[in-house]
């Protein structure tokens, strides 16, 4: 359960991460911008403070380390090294991930400590480290790693690791740190090092403690903490059962050899004392697996030992060990909790001006309310109906204007600039390009274009996918670009603009374009369309096939785009937002992916239609045109019906039949009224009894039991109080 306190922390932290990212990006452009550096420092500092308030230790020490480096950069005159900036940005990314996890689970992720260790090491290695004073920053946060090396094969199972840095006055204040350490529960390994290794006998002070003690204990974290209650200094306790230390390749190889040896032992069946040998070989294998952190494989072998003991045959155990052996090579099963989908933001920061506008409108609405009361009184006093009617008309007009303004003002509260989704791209693109050996520059235009907060949030993933595709498959390798007479550096343009009620976003690359013939070949090979269908398709239509489910043109699956999601996921995501995706490509010149998204999710323009005396709404975005078709031109095709509209065959669906409503008699028996609609690139016509009017509605999504209802996208109230069901054209047509 998330409390208000935590919610506030998340909002504030996200703002600070955004601020910090902006500052760092600006610094990347202009490394001498001291103001931005100061601002970035403040953002990190405040973030650290916020982490302290919610007692998020990992986040605190990570940001503390970053802050220290930033502080030293502030006091130096040198321009900032881009690598250092990258590490700061990564640090904010890591923080952002932690915040996401906190938002969905309400608590800090279990991996945070390990992430923090990595991040601090990276920050320390990024160049600013020399200026950092050892007292204020954790010098070496690879202490767990160090401990694991020292501890060797003790370092597995349910252990607790401790890092204890006594405060500098610990020798003469409080208990002797050695006594503290001696009192630790079940210590297995203790390592004592100097927290500042540069001190010498000549320079040292015997009154100031400069020790860092790490220990491994066979005890619970609680017991360890209890033993350190009165110890002054910095204490870090980590239970190793939850933090799986990823073993090095070398260790992995040793463990593998060990398990293989047990397998050989088991296979020598004609040995005396077989049962005892089986059990001990099995146990050795289990230990090796546990050491590798593969508890799930170890459990399997353990079960097999039990069965083998009962049946006195080594086969089961041999099979289990063999399976485990092949399992070591496989990646560990993914942790599902960390992949849960991001939660939409539950809280929003709103500009004060927008709230003021609402307050003003409320005032005006009250005036109108009073005026209507006055009119009612006039009516009661038998005033001339014509006068009353005129007054009511005026008041209605006024009321309408205010309602529209109020609606707009409310929608504007939910509006965010796209910048908040775009700002992470430049760095991600740089990283992605670097990993495939390309140089790409990303130009962003129209980042101040606004859209509903939900849309801005939901756009990040599909856009990242499109951009990633462009870098990975669109932009050619520098050599190929050079031979094609292009500059070695690829250009990606991410462009956004507001167009009436929609937001248009384009991703344009100057790469090699899409090879339509290859698209056709792949589509045919993957069974997406038959050869005849493909031959009949125009190039533009064939290009659209890349959005088909199961399509991916890259012949080698790279670690970027080959994540089991293709352009079809982009289309699904965009259509879920009520938008559309288009694709244009010119061989040798480049590719352009266009996204058209509604400005707001809340307002929908619908057209009403009627079947069997019941009104339904069709989203106007899907409606191409309305037509009256003579029945003799409607021909049965297969199980359905179709007609030809301007040389195009359009399948016809009867809305009443589709919705399972009893037909009333047709008003015009020889003509059909149809709405021609387009959804997911598919055209179709829907037959209705009557065509109604257009209106703007606030769509209420279906909730509870009706949530999963097919063919319905939501409901709204009509002026006369009836409920209008708005249909999902895509589901109706499919």
């Amino acid at each position: 359960m998330m409390n208000e306190f935590l919610e506030q922390f998340l909002i504030e932290s996200r703002d600070l991460v955004a601020q910090g990212t902006d500052d760092l990006m600006a610094l990347a452009e202009n490394p001498n911008d001291r103001e931005r550096l100061d601002s970035a420092f403040r953002a990190f500092h405040t973030l650290k403070g916020a982490a302290g308030i919610v007692e998020f230790g990992a986040m605190m020490r990570t940001l503390h380390a970053a802050e220290d480096i930033l502080a030293s950069l502030r006091s130096s005159e040198e321009p900032i090294n881009p690598d250092t900036l990258d590490e700061f940005l990564t640090c904010l990314d890591v923080t952002s991930r932690w915040l996401d996890a906190m938002q969905s689970t309400g608590e800090a992720p279990s991996t945070a400590e390990a992430d923090a260790d990595d991040m601090i090491v990276r920050l320390m290695g990024s160049g600013g480290a020399a200026e950092v004073s050892p007292a204020s920053a954790p010098r070496d946060d690879a202490w767990i790693e160090r401990l694991s090396i020292v501890a060797g094969n003790h370092f597995t199972g349910h252990r607790t690791a401790l890092r204890y840095i006594p405060s500098s006055d610990a020798f003469f204040q409080g208990p002797d740190p050695m006594n503290v350490v001696a009192a630790l529960p079940h210590p297995m390994i203790i390592d004592v090092v100097l927290s500042d290794p540069t001190i010498s006998l000549e320079s040292m002070s015997t009154f100031s403690c400069n020790l860092e003690i790490v220990a491994l204990m066979e005890a619970s974290g609680e017991q360890v903490r209890a033993a350190l209650l009165n110890a002054p200094g910095k204490v870090e306790v980590r239970e190793l059962a939850s933090t799986v230390i990823s073993p090095s390749e070398e260790v992995r190889a040793t463990a593998r050899t060990l398990i293989e040896a047990q397998l050989l032992l088991l296979q020598e069946s004609d040995v005396d004392g077989l049962v005892g040998r089986q059990a001990s070989a099995g146990r050795t294998a289990v230990n090796a697996l546990l050491y590798l952190g593969r508890s799930e494989l170890a459990a399997n072998v353990e079960r097999a030992i039990a069965t083998t003991n009962d049946e006195n045959s080594p086969d089961i155990l041999i099979a289990a060990v063999e399976q485990a052996l092949s399992g070591i090579g496989q990646p560990e099963p993914p942790n599902n909790s960390s992949r849960s989908s991001p939660v939409a933001p539950r809280a929003l920061r709103v500009d004060m001006d927008r709230i003021d506008a609402l307050v003003k409108l409320t005032g005006e609405l009250i005036v109108v309310k009073n005026a209507i009361g006055h009119t009612a009184k006039l009516f009661q006093e038998n005033e001339d109906p014509r006068v009353i009617m005129a007054t009511l008309r005026t008041q209605h007009a006024l009321f309408e204007r205010l309602a529209t303004e109020l609606q707009n003002a409310v929608l504007r509260i939910r509006v965010l600039p796209l910048r908040s989704a775009f700002r992470r791209f430049p760095r991600l693109i740089r990283e992605i390009a670097g990993s495939v050996g390309k140089t790409v520059r990303l130009i962003i235009e129209g980042e101040s274009t606004e859209a509903d907060a939900t849309i801005v949030d939901a756009l990040f993933e599909p856009l990242l996918h499109v951009l990633r595709n462009a870098v990975d498959h669109g932009i050619e390798s520098p050599e190929r670009r050079a031979s094609a007479g292009k500059s070695a550096m690829g250009t990606l343009i991410l462009r956004a603009r507001r167009d009436a009620d929609t937001v248009k976003i384009e991703v344009e690359d100057d790469g090699g374009g899409i090879d339509v013939d290859r698209v056709r070949a792949v589509a045919c090979a993957r069974g997406i369309a038959t050869a005849e269908t493909l031959a009949a398709m125009t190039d533009a239509e064939a290009l659209g096939l890349v959005f088909a489910v199961g399509f991916s043109t890259a012949s080698t699956v790279s670690n970027l785009s080959g994540r089991g999601v293709g352009m079809d996921s982009v289309r699904t995501a965009v259509e879920r937002l009520g938008g559309q995706v288009t694709l244009e490509s010119q061989p040798g010149i480049g590719t352009r992916v266009g996204l058209v998204i509604p400005f707001s999710l809340m307002m929908t323009r619908v057209m009403t239609v009627e079947v069997a005396g019941q009104a339904f709404g069709l989203p106007l975005d899907n409606v191409v045109e309305t037509a009256i078709v003579p029945r003799d031109r409607i021909v049965p095709i297969g199980a359905g019906r179709a007609f030809v509209l301007r040389d195009q065959t359009v399948p016809l669906i009867d809305l009443a039949d589709t919705l399972g409503i009893q037909h009333t008699d047709r008003l015009c028996p020889d003509q059909a009224k149809v709405v021609v609609a387009l959804a997911a690139g598919q055209i179709g016509a829907i037959e209705v009894d009557r065509l109604g009017e257009r209106m703007d509605v606030m769509l209420t999504p279906m909730e509870g039991l009706l949530n999963g209802m097919k063919g319905v996208s939501g409901t709204t109230l009509l002026g006369d109080g009836r409920v209008l069901i708005v249909l999902d054209v895509q589901e109706i047509l499919s």
């Binding site: 020292v150 020798f171 020790l211």
Partner: protein, 96 residues
């Protein structure tokens, strides 16, 4: 007396060494740059003393008498750079 300069080449730690011994040990070490530390008679040592040994990286003749020191701290100091003395002499624990 818990820190004793046995001769110019050996500084002995005997019994329970308190925090103040850190300074005494440091002075002995500074005055005798070649001396090794012999803590075979040491039952326990304050962290301040351990720190001086660690900074010195001198040869350390062990094992110490105290079991905690022997089992856990002596190996840590070895890892920290305190060598076993090159020529093990005959054990000559002799009180002054």
């Amino acid at each position: 007396m818990t820190i004793v300069l046995h001769d110019a080449s050996t500084i002995r730690l005997i019994g329970t060494c308190p925090a103040d011994d850190g300074e005494v040990l440091l002075q002995h070490l500074l005055a005798n740059p070649q001396a090794e530390v012999d803590w075979r008679g040491c039952e326990s040592a304050h962290a301040a003393v351990i720190q001086v040994i660690l900074v010195s990286r001198r040869s350390l003749r062990g094992p110490p008498a105290g079991s905690f020191l022997e089992r856990l701290i002596d190996p840590a100091l070895r890892r920290g750079g305190c060598q076993v003395p090159p020529s093990p002499r005959a054990p000559e624990v002799r009180e002054r």
